[in-house]
């Protein structure tokens, strides 16, 4: 018995063998394969951004960024479209943020485990799988035809709200889930009510991931096309100004403009306008992603004192 143990130890203890060498080689090879997979993502992004810059950079000018689009002549701008993109994003967040955070807080902090919780969860997951073009047609049916609003910024924003509620609810749930239960116990142990605990401890502790999530969803809203074509319309407002704050006027966003310019190609410089628009859109969405990271981290440090 004792000898057997000694011999096992001896064979295991040999520091180099063919088997060990081949295992180590495979390990190194696989590390390389996985590294390549990871870096290809960075490479793809760089190639994509580079391509867009080469294609679109020459189009960018102050006139292009702020000017009005043209119906038939060359040299149209995208000013109102950029404005509309931000305006519809703003309207969408006004509806989406309170509802999705409210629902997320309810599910995570109040619902416990029960039928109603499962029902809300199932509804949100089903809603999340609806393709945006289907949501766009639904918006057309409700806001444009039934309500007789025609193509409006608010119709587009409400459609986008339906589209993004599940994602932001999920973000809220995960952000709250990341807050340690010891905080809940400490707060309740001091005689706080559930609502006080949520408002004063849980939400402030979750503010970092929550903000990151909201900004990332904003990036998606900013770039959404299919849901807006039939709800907010594919032309800018012809009211007093194309920079129009009236939510009941038509409001073509940058992403929709990119699509419609390509499809209709009525202007001679449609390709250039599309390339320029694509570059602006891409840069905007990238800025959203960077802001999401920076702001999320700063808020976490500010409100919790910990990085």
């Amino acid at each position: 018995m004792a000898e057997a143990i000694v011999s096992t130890v001896a064979s295991r203890g040999r520091l180099s063998s063919d088997r060990a060498r081949s295992r180590r080689a495979l390990d190194r090879f696989m590390t390389g394969v996985l590294w390549t997979a990871a870096s290809s993502i960075v490479l793809l992004l760089l190639v994509f951004i580079g391509y867009e810059f080469v294609q679109g950079w020459s189009e960018i000018s102050w006139h292009f960024l702020t000017g009005y689009p043209s119906a038939s002549d060359a040299g149209g701008g995208i000013g109102p479209e950029i404005f509309n993109s931000f305006y519809i994003l703003f309207l969408t967040l006004i509806f989406t943020v309170p509802i999705s955070i409210g629902a997320g807080v309810y599910l995570q902090e109040y619902a416990g485990s029960g039928r109603f919780r499962d029902l809300v969860q199932f509804s949100a997951e089903s809603l999340a799988t609806v393709p945006s073009i289907v949501m766009g047609l639904f918006g057309l049916l409700i806001f444009v035809q039934t309500f007789h609003w025609h193509f409006t910024a608010i119709g587009g924003a409400l459609t986008l709200t339906l589209l993004n509620l599940p994602a932001l609810m999920r973000v809220t749930q995960e952000a709250l889930g990341s807050v340690s239960d010891t905080f809940r116990e400490a707060s309740m142990g001091l005689g706080a009510t559930k609502w006080q605990t949520v408002v004063k401890v849980i939400l402030p502790s979750a503010i970092g991931p929550l903000t990151t999530g909201i900004v990332l969803v904003s990036g998606r809203i900013f770039g959404e096309t299919a849901a807006l074509v039939f709800t907010a319309g594919a032309s800018v407002s012809y009211g007093k100004s194309a920079y129009d704050f009236n939510p009941f006027h038509t409001a073509e966003t940058l992403a929709v403009h990119l699509w419609s310019t390509h499809r209709e190609a009525l202007v001679p410089d449609a390709d250039q306008i599309a390339n320029g628009s694509a570059l602006v859109l891409l840069v905007m969405v990238l800025i959203f992603n960077i802001v999401a990271r920076v702001v999320g981290r700063q808020l976490t440090i500010r409100l919790t004192g910990k990085s």
Binding site: S187, G305, K306
Partner: protein, 263 residues
């Protein structure tokens, strides 16, 4: 024989809390079986027993923390100054206001030291800055932490050491002026020096507060408590003065545990 009766001649004890026929269930599992215990005012009561014996479960039933756990259920009566805290018209939030709790791991909020201490007074409606400052200073002094943090009250509580964080959590409980303080192995995550500071602090606290403390360390129970209760497998086996429990236990199971037979 009740400890209150046996001790009253010597030290005039009054009863702060009284537990009668308490059962605690997790689903269908009966974690505490018909426990009866009188907790004397302004003394330290230690709850000891091997892991999983139910001592923490018992402690958490004393300020209705089980309300927060899905599937947990408490039956029997627990009175505070004669009123059943599980009574139909009793607000659990008020119960936890009067019976504070310090947890096993220090759990300061991710806020400043100052905001941690005044959290309780704030949620109970105190907004006067001068009053809050006063409560903050008094509580931190009581928790023997004031001298170490008085120059950095606005710094994050998470920058403090583990022992300081735990004393901060005690200060946070003291700030709401509870009558009873429950402590769930408050020193088990701390080093020996921090532990001895917490123990000294408990010795001070019993002048003004009733303290019930769960500990896995028999030495700690012997050092700091006036009374000791022994739990085993959900049964409250024996209660007595700490010196009696450690020198003349009446129950064979207590003796086996004290002499190290359960490990």
């Amino acid at each position: 024989m009740s400890i209150l009766e046996s001790q009253s001649a010597a030290s005039s004890l009054t009863e702060k809390m009284n537990v009668e026929n308490m059962d605690v269930f997790y689903g269908s599992f009966r974690a505490i079986k018909s426990a009866n215990l009188k907790i004397p005012d302004r003394r330290v009561m230690a709850l000891i027993g091997p892991s999983g014996c139910g001592k923490s479960t018992f402690l958490r039933a004393l300020n209705r923390m089980h309300d927060l756990t899905a599937g947990a259920r408490v039956t029997g009566t627990v009175t505070l100054d004669g009123t059943d805290i599980y009574g139909a018209d009793v607000d659990p939030v008020t119960v936890r206001h009067r019976i504070g709790m310090v947890f096993q791991r220090p759990n300061p909020f991710p806020k400043s030291i100052y905001e941690n201490v005044v959290y309780g007074p704030r949620i109970h409606g105190e907004n006067n800055r001068a009053t809050l400052d006063e409560i903050c200073e008094r509580s931190l002094k009581q928790a023997a932490l004031w001298d170490e943090v008085k120059d950095r009250l606005q710094r994050s509580a998470l920058d403090l050491s583990g022992g300081q964080q735990q004393r901060l959590c005690i200060a946070r409980v003291l700030a709401v002026n509870p009558e009873v303080i429950l402590m769930d192995e408050p020193a088990s995550a701390l080093d020996p020096i921090a532990t001895s500071k917490i123990e000294d602090l408990i010795g001070e606290l019993k002048k003004d507060y009733t303290v019930v403390i769960v500990t896995h360390s028999m030495q700690q129970a012997a050092r700091i408590s006036d009374f000791t209760t022994f739990f085993l497998l959900g049964d409250l086996v024996e209660v007595g003065t700490t010196s009696d429990i450690f020198t003349r236990p009446k129950d064979k199971r207590t003796e086996d545990y004290i002499t190290g037979r359960y490990g």
